[in-house]
Subunit: 224 residues, 2 copies
């Protein structure tokens, strides 16, 4: 592996991550979520990694580029999954369940609770327009899938599953972590709130099979 | 009305609010939600009100006292309602519906989207312990009511109604405002997600009557 550009490190590696870029992202994610975005300087991030500030600027032009990279991480995987789900012929409740399950799991598994940064006023600036558009795209796909699942009595509820999934961010923020059962609890509640009265256990089984199959396909594509 | 302590204003009143304290809170709420808490100084708040910084300190000892007062506003009214609901003998689905309806409405009606500040890392400090405890108390009352409503198939979902109600904060943040129908949509979805299969329209009617009755009682208590 290349050591990458920049001057040699001041200290031995302190952070998680296999590359300097990944270490900068990990340090920034910790500082942004525990001290706040506005209160964190690129100098503080460089110090936390154990590199010079000038070396940090070889990887990221500015602090908002680091934030943009971190935010993008939180939506890239579910957006990739959505594209895969679109070409399967599973019923909509199975696709929606699989998406909600996967997304809750990835939001809970991330080392730092980056979704807490979605409400930053800084995100309303033009700099983050692309991120906002991509997150809106994810939201719309949730809404379209939910509209296919919703019964007549609950058709207006199609806007809510995306919100319920993202509430794991608030659960993590209040309670330190989300309970292990959140990854079933939330997709089950998504089906209920859409007025869907079938057996969640059968949908869960089909969603698990689907996610396994798609993960295998991605692996094969990635290694060919 | 007393003009309150402090030196005379530099300028004519610019802010909403019938007292200097209310004007300071309105200005701070705008700045905290649009520029960020860490990026807003007490000087900037005083400038926005059109008073001297020293006058601001007659009302609030420090910036975190202003934040604490603003956050408390977001939970005081629903906590008061919970206390009133506890002494009615309405069925739990009506009490839960009334609470969720009232809370969504007050979170949407507030001029600034103050709930967006719940995720600030600053709130984890000891200074905000009392606020955290009071918000946890509100959350627990939601959970208890929801557990009474939940069917066996959805009993674990009792932790989610509080989260769904607070998701109007995220809807406001993303879309500028929540749709008018959110105040029915979310309480309806709360009943559905708890596996409750009755007619939401009848519960909504009973909840509306209950809220009217309680508002009248408060008025009478307040004016006696």
């Amino acid at each position: 592996m290349q050591p990458g550009p920049g001057r040699p490190r001041l200290e031995a590696r302190r952070r998680r991550g296999s590359t300097p870029r990944a270490e900068i992202l990990d340090a920034a994610a910790e500082l942004f979520t525990t001290r706040g975005y506005a209160s964190t300087s690129t100098r503080a991030i460089a110090d936390a990694v154990g590199i010079r500030q000038a070396s940090l600027y070889h990887h990221f032009g500015a602090k908002d580029d680091i934030l943009d990279a971190l935010l993008s991480e939180t939506i890239s995987a579910p957006l990739d999954l959505v594209a895969q789900l679109d070409v399967t012929d599973e019923p909509p409740q199975v696709r929606l369940y699989a998406l909600a399950w996967f997304d809750v799991r990835q939001l809970c598994a991330a080392r730092w609770n980056l979704g807490a940064l979605y409400l930053l006023p800084e995100l309303r600036s033009e700099r983050f327009e692309e991120f906002r558009l991509r997150r809106a795209q994810l939201r719309q796909r949730y809404e379209q899938l939910a509209a296919e699942v919703a019964t007549d009595a609950a058709e207006d509820a199609h806007t809510l599953p995306f919100r319920l999934v993202e509430s794991v961010i608030n659960i993590r923020s209040d309670q330190g972590s989300a309970p292990d059962e959140a990854d079933h609890l939330i997709p089950d509640a998504v089906l209920h709130m859409l007025g869907w009265h079938g057996d969640p256990a059968s949908v869960r089984g089909a969603a698990a099979d689907l996610l396994d199959r798609l993960a295998e396909d991605s692996y094969q594509v990635g290694t060919v």
